[in-house]
């Protein structure tokens, strides 16, 4: 197993305090970075091949370089800590166990983009991470690490997956409902409060101090040709040791499942794997030699996304799993685009009736048709993310769906509950319906 870089403080009791962080060499990268020109910092990160770890995998240094050079007003740094992609839980570890790593990464990034104010948007349900991170920000401010030159506002969300999408997140930060916006303009040109804004994931920024301390070449060499570094893989589902594992981005899915997570649990026989959060197309058991970098996953017809891995053993019903995933997308669509709003609801209903043994012969083709038609037609990537599972689960395990439709009668797997409802709207929690 490789050196722990991002996770090196996760098991140290006092690492979330400033003193504890300093003991592990904390804020020495800032000492270096504060003497560097902004352009040199952007170059350094470009050379490191760091790519965004929130989902889209965009090269971080390049993103930073998009801030207009001639802009006179404020520039903002917004940290995406709205972690919500099903199967992903690694940012929670950084916020709770190594909050100063994010703060140090932010201070350095802020210098690189000439920014004086940063926001950290933490999902509303993360109350404990929010408290710990806010405490770390106060400590950093008292120690003069934050202040006149750059300060941080910690912001709490209120429950909506779509606020993880960067333009939805910006709308929400501005005090509106979290509706994504049409791009362009990209946030780097016109973002939060109308100003040029860099949106980066928590883990992406936590990499930055290490790049400053140990060099771009070192970071690049840890990874693959087109992506540097290690990253945090969230592994859950039917594995023996579900947890966050740090590994080089060139690790294979096989290694993560068997060497890191202890192998497949329950029947012990692998059936399929969600490799990058629920929006990533499903891989079958014979596809796990894929390398888990952005390009490796793309070449295998899926995506690394947020690196949230969910393992299915032989006993998992694929139609049942798709029903659960489809319920999520139906619930979380923000409702702005017709294909997304309507299809996610229809497809969930069809999946549900298939699992309930009431599936119709043409349901599968209808789902595939509806899913494919909407591809690429919507404001944000949410809908393209939803189609990933619809198509891959059905195309890769069609016989299992057909069997269920043919056989009829309720599926043997445990029945899942009604979708959630809030007081006052019991039973009608179809989000947009």
């Amino acid at each position: 197993m490789s050196e722990k870089i991002l996770s090196r403080n996760f098991d140290r009791a006092n690492a979330s305090t400033l003193a504890g962080y300093r003991e592990s060499g904390g804020y020495t990268a800032w000492d270096t970075a504060r003497t560097m020109e902004p352009a040199a910092l952007v170059d350094l990160v470009k050379k490191s091949n760091l790519r965004g770890l929130g989902g889209a995998g965009f090269p971080t240094g390049m993103k930073w370089s998009f801030i207009p050079k001639d802009h006179a007003g404020p520039v903002y740094l917004v940290v995406n800590a709205d972690e919500g992609e099903p199967g992903t839980f690694k940012d929670r570890y950084i916020l709770e166990r190594d909050p100063h790593a994010l703060i140090e990464g932010m201070v350095i990034a802020a210098r690189a983009i000439r920014c004086k104010l940063g926001f950290v948007y933490i999902r509303g349900e993360y109350v404990q991470p929010w408290r710990i991170f806010s405490g770390a920000v106060r400590e950093a401010r008292e120690a003069g690490l934050l202040g006149e030159h750059f300060d941080i506002v910690v912001h709490r969300g209120a429950g909506a997956y779509i606020c993880g999408e960067e333009t939805g997140l910006i709308s929400s930060l501005e005090g509106k409902k979290g509706w994504p916006k049409v791009k362009p303009p990209f946030p780097a040109i016109k973002g939060a409060f109308g100003m040029p804004t860099i949106v980066n994931n928590v883990e992406t920024l936590a990499c930055v101090p290490h790049i400053v301390n140990r060099g771009a070449e070192w970071f690049a060499a840890l990874g693959s040709k087109t992506q540097g570094g290690t990253r945090l893989y969230s592994v859950s589902g039917r594995v023996k040791r579900p947890a966050v594992y740090e590994a080089p981005v060139s690790v294979t899915l096989r290694q993560l499942i068997y060497d890191y997570a202890g192998g497949v649990s329950h029947t012990g026989k692998l059936k399929a794997v969600v490799p990058g959060g629920s929006s990533a197309p499903l891989l079958t058991a014979d596809q796990i030699d894929v390398t888990m970098d952005v390009d490796g996953c793309r070449n295998a017809g899926t995506m690394i996304g947020s690196a949230g891995i969910v393992v299915f053993d032989e006993s998992v019903s694929i139609p049942d799993a798709l029903m659960v995933v489809a319920r999520f997308y139906a619930h979380e669509s923000c409702g702005q685009c017709t294909p997304c709003r309507e299809s996610t609801g229809w497809i969930y209903k069809m999946c549900k009736r298939i699992v309930d043994g009431k599936g119709r012969k043409d349901d599968l083709d209808t789902i595939l048709d509806v899913a494919k038609r909407g591809a690429g037609t919507t404001i944000c990537a949410f809908y393209d993310g939803a189609i990933g599972p619809y198509i891959s689960y059905i195309e890769k395990f069609r016989a299992e769906f057909e069997e269920l439709i043919h056989r009829g009668g309720p599926e043997m797997a445990p029945q899942t509950p009604q979708r959630s409802a809030r007081p006052g709207e019991a039973g009608t929690h179809l989000g947009h319906a």
Binding site: V127, F193, R238
Partner: protein, 167 residues
Amino acid sequence: MTPHPAPPVSGPIAFSAEQIAEVRRLQSLYPDRRGALLPVLHLAQETFGYVSLDVEAYVAGLFELSPAHVHEVVTFYTMYFQAPKGRHVVSVCHNLSCHLAGAPAIIEHVKQRLGIEPGETTDDGRITFVSVECLCACEAAPMMQVDDRYEMNLTPEKVDRILEELR
């Protein structure tokens, strides 16, 4: 069973002087004070129990926004309650990893124990029970959120203990 109101908040809807100062401080943190709307709505819910139309109107006044704007925000997010909720909120995750680890059985168990469906509140106003999407603690599935904290690696026995302690 229908959602049952918790004890109503008594008195007029107004923040204390300290809370008003906190609202102004929050508003000053953002380039546009409207940025503080979500945090202030959290504060309002903590104070008044839930975000009624009257609370929306009150908060709108603090932002010089129309109540319709505030309503649009309140209804968009799952964490703002528009009707009275129980003294405790129990949110069981029903997404993929929790589902694979037995969330349906946990949800069934909570239903039986409390005698209510997801979305409802117990008659004594003690607990509101909801089933929710991924809370991003899938390594400890099945799990749930109880008020401010995450309760992980649930078993029916553990759920019983937790529910028992909620007063």
